[in-house]
Amino acid sequence: MQVLASVLGVFDISLDKLSNGELWLAQFFRGLSDGATYASVALALVMIYKSTGFINFAQGSLALLGVYLAYIFSVEQGLPVVVAVLCAMVASSAVAMLVERVFIRPFPPDHVLPLVIVTLGLLLIIDSAVGIVWGFRTRSLPSMFPSGAPIEWGIAQLTWRTIGNLGTVFAVVGLLYLLLSRTKVGLAFRAVSSNLESARLVGIRVGPTLGFGWALAAAIGTLGGALVVPDLLLEPSIMLRVLIFSLAAAALGGLDSMVGAVLGGLVVGLARNLLVTFLDLSELALATAVAVILVVLLVRPTGLFGSTRVERV
């Protein structure tokens, strides 16, 4: 016991902390809550990746724009928060469709590098446009869920917000599943993401279908942002930080798997909260995300649930 304590002492870990069950549970719940928010942005990334085969670095920025719109609708126009978020989802998907039509569609979809660079340019433009319009003052957006905690156990609280966040993410996955498997546009979407050329040959209008993917991703991203922001404060750089964790989540789950994105988000959220608490690594929270990405890409590049890419030479 003595030896163990001294080994742990090197890492600044105290046994008291490790044997504190309430602390574990509290961090577990916080991890779930964070994880749900990462998962929702990761879902948006997966949607884009599935449809277009590249990572949209502007995803966080579109979500940021959506969250600011939600702020305008709810705090300034006085709409109920849920309605405001729904309106913002619609508005941001309209913006995303426009962006896709103007900036993305002119490029051949199989040439990835220019597209990624365009999304980097969009990231710069949208983020600074948000800064120009709304300034860098921090604001607070009310949560969509009531405050308080139905389940309390010492310092560990399972709040309504955590439950709401988790419920929202699972509902989104369920709805997406229905949308993709039961509707015509979903079928078209899956066809395009499976094989663009064949989809075009059988008469699917590829462009609008990809635009639909962008709109859907922006709506999900906005929803994710609306889940994130009540925990933090709303300011223009907020989504960039979330984007890193969500990229880690998406990479962990496999970039093209929705279930993977959700599980990846939860794992990253839990890992972040538990590691930071028990190893005292508050500055290294981002580094844990990077470590997750690195290990996953090295050991299992397709992630936990991603499909293996077969290339014919």
Binding site: L120, G121, L124, A251, L297
Partner: protein
């Protein structure tokens, strides 16, 4: 302008034209610091813009940073969004060595270059298994992490944590440097001389000295990189970028060359970091975060990926576009001041416009204009 007659490549005329071009370039490089030692500030549409020697020196540092990125991304085609990590590491290595061990700036290169080379190779090893987008994703995350590594408690008393680190040593112009004399000569020239100040203050002299030091370092870097890329290594890297499979089939060792490209890229990035530290005498964690990583990509694309001239244009662009944008107090016809985030937005717009209209970057556009105005007829190799 009417186009000149085509000259044969390698002919006497062609060589003369090249020599004249380089001489003009050298003349501009030498004259500029004296011309803008009193910060040059033209007024356009009621806005006062400045072109200071400090901005120019910073731009030179950024050029070398883009040059480094160019090796991994422009030439061997591996999307690296984490180049700021190497630049930051170089800057911090220099800062710590100068502050704690009282090394001179230039001698820190003896540690920065090999250190960053090894670092880049280590970084390149996982990059072997990770390609394209995934590599972009990983490097993006690495860039984001750099500031928090600097702020770690264990190293914060050495790196200065969030406050950054002021570097003790000043780069004062040595007594043998004839900066004062050159100023006098230039001032004596009728016409142009009026722009050159009568004499330099101590700070101006220091700025001019730093500028020349940075120019020489940059020239050495460009020359070395040019030589590396003109030979076997460069051909191998371009082959990997254009068709990895074909390159492998022709006997290019993909793994070795990819890691090598990351190593060289990181080493050059480290030198850029040293140069930026020399220029400002200060290093801060957030300077080298992912905003710099993205800016370097912007510079690379705007200048022209896979060209050496592009790094020069790109460095100037990412230094001066935000700088001038923030100095635009009133946009003509409106009362909008382009301060703060406008600069970034303009760079983002520039990036997209370049990708749309001039995929090869400004270097490519420049080359096309030059080929139109001063055509050179290629000659078949002899022998």
């Amino acid at each position: 302008m009417r186009a000149m007659e085509a000259v044969a490549a390698g002919s006497r005329q062609h060589r003369r034209r090249q020599v004249i071009g380089w001489a003009l370039f050298a003349l501009v490089v030498v004259l500029i610091p004296f011309l803008i030692a009193d910060t040059y500030s033209p007024t356009i549409f009621g806005n006062r813009y400045t072109v200071g020697l400090g901005n120019l020196s910073q731009a030179i540092g950024l050029m070398v940073a883009i040059l480094g990125l160019n090796i991994a991304t422009g030439y061997s085609g591996q999307l690296s969004l984490g180049h700021s990590f190497f630049v930051g590491s170089g800057a911090y290595l220099t800062a710590v060595l100068v502050n704690e061990f009282h090394w001179s700036y230039l001698s820190t290169l003896g540690v920065v270059v090999p250190g960053l080379f090894v670092f880049g190779v280590l970084f390149g090893i996982p990059a072997l298994r990770i390609q394209g987008l995934y590599l972009g994703l990983l490097t993006f995350a690495v860039a984001a992490v750099f500031p928090s590594i600097i702020r770690l408690e264990n190293v914060a008393d050495r790196t200065g944590g969030s406050n950054g680190l002021l570097i003790d040593s000043d780069l004062e112009a040595p007594t043998w440097a004839p900066i004062e004399k050159i100023t006098e000569w230039l001032h004596a020239i009728p016409g142009v001389g009026a722009r050159v100040p009568d004499g330099l203050t101590g700070r101006q002299e220091e700025a001019v000295y730093k500028y020349f030091l940075l120019v020489i370092m940059a020239l050495v870097c460009f020359w070395l990189v040019r030589n590396i890329l003109a030979g076997r290594v460069g051909r191998a890297l371009v082959a990997i970028r254009d068709n990895p499979l074909g390159a492998a089939a022709n006997g290019v060792d993909l793994a070795a060359y990819k890691t090598l490209s990351f190593g060289i890229s990181a080493a050059v990035g480290g030198v850029a970091g040293t140069m930026l530290a020399m220029h400002s005498g200060f290093v801060g964690p957030d300077e080298f975060g992912f905003s710099m990583a993205i800016l370097l990509i912007v510079g690379l694309i705007v200048g022209g990926a896979g060209t050496l001239h592009g790094a020069v244009a790109g460095g100037l662009a990412i230094q001066f576009v935000p700088h001038w944008s923030s100095q635009t107090q009133t946009l003509p016809g409106t009362d909008v001041a382009l301060e703060g985030p406008y600069g970034t937005a303009i760079l983002g717009g520039l990036l997209i416009i370049i990708i749309f209209a001039l995929p090869g970057g400004t270097a490519h556009g420049f080359r096309r204009v030059k080929a139109r105005l001063m055509p050179v007829a290629p000659q078949p190799p002899t022998g």
